[in-house]
């Protein structure tokens, strides 16, 4: 894994020293809140409903065990003993005191972590496939390039005051697990017809109040051209993007209003200029970064213990069926540790759980962990013979929930339980859905399903790309939940369509039950998933299930 250079360490230390002084000046009164707010946001410190919130970057979702242990230490020492993993592979602490934040930032720096550019109109934490470096279908590990983008974008002098925030995601595999099409820029590793590796570049994706699937601006970009091309896109946006209206300031609107062709022409003109200016320095740096991401020496040992475990233990077999993914090394597996135990808060991990995960990573996973945008923890490289004992230790900590990819593996933003922007709660809706369908005993029968919940139109909970999306709104002073259907977060990204009027807080779970019972009645066979049935039949039968009374009224009329 990448380790800080002297330059990185000095940069972070200097930023932390500056922020400590800024906090002191705020508390002493020589900085007003208006002056201090942008400074704290540059360091990921928000003021939420009940307390401050510190958002810490986990670049491309990759953590070492020592870093996970330090997050647990921070949670115990300065917060309430837990952390919340987010849909952008960050971790948020919900209860820090302003006066403690400089010490927290120093504790983060000790393990080469920080909160820089986790807020503000800058290039945010670069996200990547959470199975990077392990997935069987991978063309190339996307993390070296993600790290190169991180270094280029961190404190980039031209891009500290963009029209709006800017998000970049990278995937190295044809199966898109990084939701690249919902980012401002998506970078997809591809092979051209001559077998050469390069990137397909997408631009102008985003969810929020104007959801748009990103469009391809370059079908094939030679690898060495990546940074100058990204620089051309962001600097074109920096000039062309709107600053008069916050809601029209994202690059998706810039591309939409100017047209992709005209935006592309402007980018290509800049690219022609920048390409020669880079002069290959970035490629020299990339080669160094790549060495740091060399895969571990995968252990070669028999996998009999795994086969024996499958034969002997039904619970292990169930968990292996949902929470393991094919590894590129046959004797290994990728383990998804679900942070979605039924009734718990999606994405939350207690400090004890974090420490256990760090220990498990050391004992069975070459010290590596990943955070997924789906708010789970990944052990990317586990030898199959270790899986039974790993499972047993996860069980003891309440971390062995066998629900990856199922109904209760719900993405939920913090919603109005924490967030100042939220218009309704999302966490309790996720909790109720998980518990309700567990009690019904229908989760396994329903099978693969993506439910994603946002507590406001900004869509941190990715509801637009959920097979079932739930959007919490404030309708005349009452929480109200709109349902969208048919969204897709993969390489075939699609925005779900709104089913109709929203449901009250107490009505949303019964509505989803009607919808899913309709699916069970409508599916062609037990292996046809919800999204496949939806695509085959369209929205009409599902809307009829959501709104039975209205359908009857229309029939009667």
């Amino acid at each position: 894994m990448y380790e800080y250079s002297d330059f990185d360490a000095a940069f972070v230390a200097e930023r932390n020293r500056q922020f400590r002084a800024q906090v002191e000046r705020r508390l002493a009164g020589s900085l007003t809140e208006d002056e201090f707010r942008p400074l704290r946001l540059m360091n990921g410190l928000y003021l939420q409903l009940h307390a401050y919130m510190l958002r810490v970057a986990i670049p491309y979702g990759t953590l070492r065990s020592a870093q996970m242990r330090q997050l647990a230490y921070i949670a115990d020492r300065w917060d309430k003993g837990y952390g919340h993993f987010t849909t952008r592979q960050n971790i948020q602490f919900n209860w820090p005191k302003l006066t403690d934040v400089p010490d927290i930032l120093e504790a983060l720096a000790q393990v080469e972590m920080h909160s820089i550019q986790t807020s503000g109109n800058t290039i945010r934490n670069v996200t990547a496939d959470h199975f990077a470096g392990a997935a069987a279908d991978e063309i190339e590990d996307p993390r070296p390039v993600a790290e190169l983008i991180r270094q280029w974008s961190t404190d980039h002098p031209e891009f500290q005051f963009l029209p709006r925030k800017f998000k970049i995601a990278v995937t190295g595999a044809p199966a898109d697990r990084a939701v690249t099409a919902s980012n401002d820029i998506g970078v997809r590793t591809v092979l051209n017809d001559r077998g050469e590796m390069g990137y397909q570049i997408l631009v102008g994706g985003g969810l929020g109040r104007t959801p748009m699937v990103a469009r391809v601006i370059r079908d094939f970009l030679p690898k060495a051209d990546l940074l100058p091309y990204l620089e051309a896109i962001v600097s074109t946006y920096n000039l062309m993007g709107r600053r008069d209206n916050k809601f029209k300031a994202r690059i998706k609107i810039t591309v939409f209003e100017n047209g992709l062709e005209s935006f592309r022409d402007a980018v290509e003109a800049k690219f022609a200029l920048y390409r020669s200016q880079f002069g290959g320095a970035d490629q020299y740096l990339l080669a160094e970064i790549k060495a740091a991401f060399a895969p571990p020496a995968f252990r070669n040992a028999p996998v009999d213990a795994y086969d024996a475990g499958l034969a002997a233990d039904a619970a292990f077999r169930t968990w292996a069926g949902t929470n393991l993914t094919a590894h590129r090394n046959d004797s290994h597996a990728i383990v998804t540790v679900s942070l979605k135990a039924h009734g718990e808060t999606p994405g939350d991990a207690s400090s004890d759980q974090m420490r256990l995960l760090a220990d498990l990573a050391d004992d069975y996973g070459y010290g590596e962990l990943r955070i997924s945008h789906e708010q789970n923890v990944i052990l990317p490289h586990v030898h199959k013979s270790d899986l039974p004992v790993l499972f047993a230790r996860l069980q003891q900590a309440g971390l062995a929930t066998a629900n990856a990819g199922l109904l209760s593996d719900i993405i939920a933003c913090p919603g109005m339980d924490y967030c100042t922007l939220a218009t309704a709660r999302s966490i309790p809706v996720a909790q109720k859905l998980a518990l309700h369908f567990k009690a019904l005993g229908l989760e396994e029968e329903i099978g693969a399903l993506k439910i994603k919940i946002s507590g406001c139109i900004n869509a941190c909970g990715h509801h637009h790309v959920g097979h079932i999306g739930i959007l919490g709104l404030d309708r005349a002073g009452v929480e109200n939940y709109q349902v969208t259907l048919g969204g897709d977060h993969t390489e075939n990204a699609a925005i779900g369509e709104r089913a109709g009027p929203g449901f009250a807080y107490d009505e949303i779970v019964p509505a989803i039950e009607r919808l899913l019972r309709a699916y069970l009645d409508l599916r062609g066979n037990a292996s046809e998933t919800f999204i496949e049935t939806f695509r085959r039949l369209g929205a009409a039968p599902f809307k009829a299930a959501l709104y039975p009374a209205e359908t009857e009224d229309r029939d009667a009329a």
């Binding site: 705020r26 508390l27 009164g29 007003t32 809140e33 003021l47 939420q48 409903l49 009940h50 307390a51 401050y52 309430k80 919900n94 209860w95 820090p96 005191k97 302003l98 006066t99 808060t345 939350d348 109005m416 339980d417 924490y418 709660r425 966490i427 309790p428 909790q431 404030d474 002073g477 009452v478 929480e479």
Partner: protein, 106 residues
């Protein structure tokens, strides 16, 4: 006839702790909504907000929130303000945690 003014409380977050606070009639910042000054006059509300906004070393982001009179003092009207009086619904954290501690100490 002009519409009746909806009473207000002045609320903000504590600068150092981030906790939700309410301005009282005797110019304290209370952690409890029911101790807030219930302001029934619009001009007075603006003055109280100005007063709060000047206290830059104590609070952040003061604003006027709709409220109504209750048996133990002002009560919030909107659900967002109700959540602010107690804390999140997924853990007993925030004000509800403080309340639980206080009741066990009695």
């Amino acid at each position: 006839m002009s519409r009746r003014y909806i009473p207000k409380v002045v609320t903000a977050n504590d600068l150092a702790m981030g906790d939700v606070v309410y301005l009282t009639a005797d110019d304290r910042w209370s952690r409890h909504h029911h101790e807030a000054e219930l302001i029934e006059d619009e001009a007075h509300a603006q003055l109280r907000l100005l007063n709060a906004s000047a206290q830059k070393l104590l609070v952040v982001g003061p604003y006027l929130a709709d409220a109504k009179a209750g048996p133990n003092g002002p009560e919030p009207i909107h659900f967002r303000e109700t959540f602010r009086t107690r804390g999140p619904s997924n853990y007993v954290h925030g004000k509800q945690q403080d309340a639980a501690r206080e009741s066990t100490n009695v």
